[in-house]
């Protein structure tokens, strides 16, 4: 349990903020595993929500869909967008395990490695153009390497992402300051305390493409608890930094995931 990770905010199997190399549904009895997730991140000036499904095929291919909602609530009025203004983004993901097995390859250092892509489409092209964003659609590409060091009960992940996304795409893609792809790093480290409990931290660097507001890296401290083989709950303290001129967006991340 938990060695396959949970659902990231973009729908792919992994940590909360970063995709891992594991294919979701891993460890299930059949050849195909699936799961659904619902996530809320409650921030001082915004609320972020994500819901989605993921399908893993033969521990090789993962297909995922997530709908993200970024609710500006009362802050929307202060941004000139109107109270309760909401950005929505659909994320379609595909991930392919290339080589390695994070769990079983305990006799060698090589990690499990996967490549993936995320197609993102945001429903607010007008606002995105107004704040200096170039596109309301974009594609992220990533390589993820995950290793479980069973001898130490430790899990490590490193993901390199090529992206143009502003705040993960919630504020569009490319911008007045930079319109090119840049390489970003996402790291996760966790300790398995029991069969059911994984605690750890994640860090995700981000581009800073928009002139109107600074974009910060993301960080979280998480605890993922497997209620049973089919249900897990993740709670985290997430620090998403400044978002659209509102500073220090730190809050509680709560996610529930059901597997089939």
């Amino acid at each position: 349990m938990l060695t396959g990770g949970v659902s990231s905010v973009e729908g792919a199997g992994g940590g909360g903020l970063a995709p891992w190399a594991m294919i979701t549904g891993y460890g299930s009895q059949g050849q195909v595993g699936a799961n659904a997730h619902a996530t809320v991140v409650d921030l001082p000036d915004y609320q972020f929500r994500s819901g989605g499904i993921a399908l893993g095929v033969q521990d090789r291919l993962e297909l995922s869909y997530a709908r993200q909602t970024f609710d500006t609530g009362p802050t929307g009025a202060r941004l000139g967008l109107g109270e309760g203004f909401t950005f929505r983004q659909d994320v379609l993901g595909a991930k392919l395990r290339v080589f390695g097995d994070a769990v079983y390859d305990q006799d060698r250092w090589t990690p499990q490695v996967a490549i993936g892509a995320q197609w993102k489409s945001n429903n607010q092209p007008g606002v995105i153009a107004a704040i200096g964003g170039r596109d309301h659609e974009g594609v992220d590409y990533y390589v993820a390497a995950t290793k479980i060091l069973l001898d130490q009960s430790v899990l490590l992940n490193g993901t390199v992402r090529a992206t143009r996304a502003n705040q993960g795409g919630l504020l569009g893609f490319g911008g007045d300051r930079n319109d090119d792809y840049s390489l970003q790093f996402e790291g996760s480290a966790g300790v398995l305390l029991t069969k059911r409990l994984l605690v750890g931290a994640e860090y995700r660097t981000k581009p800073d493409n928009l002139g109107f507001a600074r974009e910060d890296d993301w960080f979280d401290l998480f605890a993922a608890y497997a209620v049973n083989k089919n249900l897990s709950i993740t709670a985290a303290y997430a620090d998403l930094g400044d978002i659209a001129t509102f500073e220090d967006q730190r809050g509680l991340y709560l996610s529930i995931q059901a597997g089939f």
Partner: protein, 168 residues
Amino acid sequence: MRPIFALSLAAVLILPLPAAAQPTPWAHPGEEAIDPYAVDDANAGAAPMAEDAVFEALGGVQGVSRIIDDLVDRSVRDPRLEEIFKPTDLARLRRTLKEQVCFILGGPCAYSGRDMAAAHKDLGITTAEFNALVENLQGAMDDAGVPFRAQNRLLARLAPMKGDVVER
């Protein structure tokens, strides 16, 4: 071919014996007859641990023996595994598993079983079945009070055997 081949050949010439009526390096009384093979600790599939912390955490020779008996008991009545365990010589399985785990944990045991590929050949074991066995082992260690981290240190030695055990 290693020099051991000569030993195997000699063993073949001694056969046929009645089904393991006398102890041989590869079979004990009460176990079904088995084709002779070269007995070698290397067949255990993992090097022994240098220190005995995990061996002690499992309760030494007697603790390992109880945990393996529990593992086999659980697996025999596990609907996911009964097809594999029903036709198995359980007396031999218990003995060789105890030897194997004791040896890998650095305990005072030699391993007399076959290597993992030979022992599981043609059983058609799946990844799900391999995982089910691991779960049963975890359950047996939980009930024996073995700390989680010590359990993982043993599992780290066993996990790479998946490649030789799983066939489909």
